[in-house]
């Protein structure tokens, strides 16, 4: 762009121009907006921008069918990407710091499910955690357990959310690979690892899916009905509902 001001004022001009450009839509707001529009977190993965260099590698692979399949079936990965893009040194819009739901539309692929790997411990359905009354961060306010990383320092909300997303993406990977037992095992760890869960509803729907795909149809359906009763307006309801079909 051509200079607007005299040379002696150029520094101030540049600084003001930079201030005008240093605004971006925060990843949290993007996810909230997508959810508000009823198109959920998977949408975040539908279009991958490579504005931030960190994710440049993704664009080189994005054209491949592999990436399309991964991104399409794993909205969570997109959400993780967007969270990470937050590290770009630009001014994001007001940090809402609360992402309550990520709608990740899991693949409904009916690929033949291989047997679980030998090392996967069997999970008893009775051991699976039941969805708490409230799954937002407020649900665990009474809990004395603090989420501390190995260094003992309190984690930021974004960092916790990133870990949660990472954990749930492992669950989804196991489900897509036809390993519901492994998915259930990971989901069993979830409430203890993330007592102040921000993605509890997502975890609950994944639990329903894992139970269903693991052959516990009746238990999955009971759980799905309870989910729909408790969260009739959840954008994740459609996913829960599909397990009620006989």
């Amino acid at each position: 762009m051509e200079p607007i001001l005299d040379p002696e004022l150029r520094d101030l001009e540049e600084a003001l121009m930079s201030a005008g450009r240093e605004v971006n839509m925060s990843p949290q707001l993007r996810m909230k907006t997508l959810t508000a529009l009823g198109i959920g977190g998977a949408a975040a993965a539908a279009v991958v921008t490579t504005k931030f260099g960190t994710w440049g590698w993704w664009s080189t692979k994005a054209g491949t069918a592999w990436t399309a399949g991964m991104v399409g079936s794993l909205g969570i990965v997109g959400a993780v990407m967007l969270l990470n893009s937050n590290s770009a040194p630009t001014q994001n819009t007001h940090d809402t710091s609360q992402v309550t739901r990520v709608e990740a539309r899991a693949s409904t692929s009916t690929a033949e499910a291989p047997l679980p790997p030998a090392g996967t411990p069997p999970v008893q359905l009775a051991d699976l955690p039941i969805e708490p009354e409230q799954t937002s961060s407020s649900a665990a306010e009474g809990s004395t357990q603090q989420q501390l990383p190995s260094g003992g320092q309190p984690q930021s909300s974004a960092s916790r959310l990133r870990e949660e997303l990472s954990h749930l993406s492992k669950v989804e990977t196991a489900l897509r690979a036809g390993r519901p037992d492994e998915a259930l095992s990971l989901l069993q760890e979830y409430p203890a690892r993330f007592p102040k869960s921000q993605l509890g509803l997502e975890a609950e729907v994944l639990t329903i899916q894992a139970m269903y795909e693991g052959g516990s149809i009746a238990a999955a359906q009971t759980r799905a009905r309870r989910f729909l009763d408790r969260h009739p307006n959840s954008p994740l309801g459609a996913r829960a509902k599909q397990y009620l079909r006989e």
Binding site: M1, L5, D6, E13, L29, I39, H94, A238
Partner: protein, 197 residues
């Protein structure tokens, strides 16, 4: 910015929160707009005078309008539509702020994002406030041209397309905007020199 759009099959028709039936195609188009143009909308709103916690709400308002009017938006005219929505939303915001007559100091603090480092924050805050003051001295029509040219780096032809005005009008508004900007920055610089002396 490179944008890679991937298409996914979606067998269902979803009902958005606004009661608009979304087909898979419109669903995908809307997603693309939010992801690819979200920064543009947020930045435009901010530079058109929206600040604080309202910025998030205004961004969402713009996209809710887009969701309702998606079928009316001609392909290739998306940015024009988004900017027009942003202008209207920002104008509404400014009117509501003006009705409140005075802005509290507490609210002013929130004009700048607080998630950055303190030293950077101070500098950013100062520059952002100076820029806001300058932009507020411009008429809306002049300001829009200036915002699109200076912060979105659009050419005059692109601005003419977005604002649906003749290129000559864009050129004259831009000249006027530059003149105002120059005068205001000179004035700020002068004031700063006097204060430090």
């Amino acid at each position: 910015m490179v944008v890679v759009a991937l298409s996914f099959p979606s067998a269902h028709v979803v009902q958005s929160t606004q009661g608009v039936a979304m087909t898979p195609a419109s669903d995908l188009r809307l997603r693309d707009l939010v992801v690819a143009q979200g920064d543009f909308v947020a930045r435009s709103l901010r530079n058109l005078g929206v600040w604080g916690g309202e910025l998030d709400d205004c961004v969402q308002k713009v996209f809710l309008v887009v969701a309702r009017r998606l079928e009316d938006i001609e392909p290739g005219k998306e940015r024009a539509f988004l900017f027009s929505c942003a202008q209207n939303t920002a104008a509404h915001f400014r009117r509501s702020v003006a009705r409140k007559k005075e802005v509290s100091d507490e609210a002013l603090v929130h004009r700048v994002d607080v998630s950055v480092q303190p030293d950077r924050l101070i500098e950013q805050k100062r520059h952002r406030e100076l820029l806001d003051r300058i932009l507020e001295t411009m008429d809306e029509s002049v300001r829009s041209v200036f915002v699109l040219h200076s912060f979105e780096e659009m050419t005059m032809a692109e601005i003419a397309n977005v604002l649906d005005v003749p290129a000559g009008t864009v050129a004259s508004r831009l000249r006027r905007a530059r003149q105002i900007f120059k005068e205001q920055v000179s004035s700020l610089q002068l004031r700063g020199t006097e204060e430090s002396a």
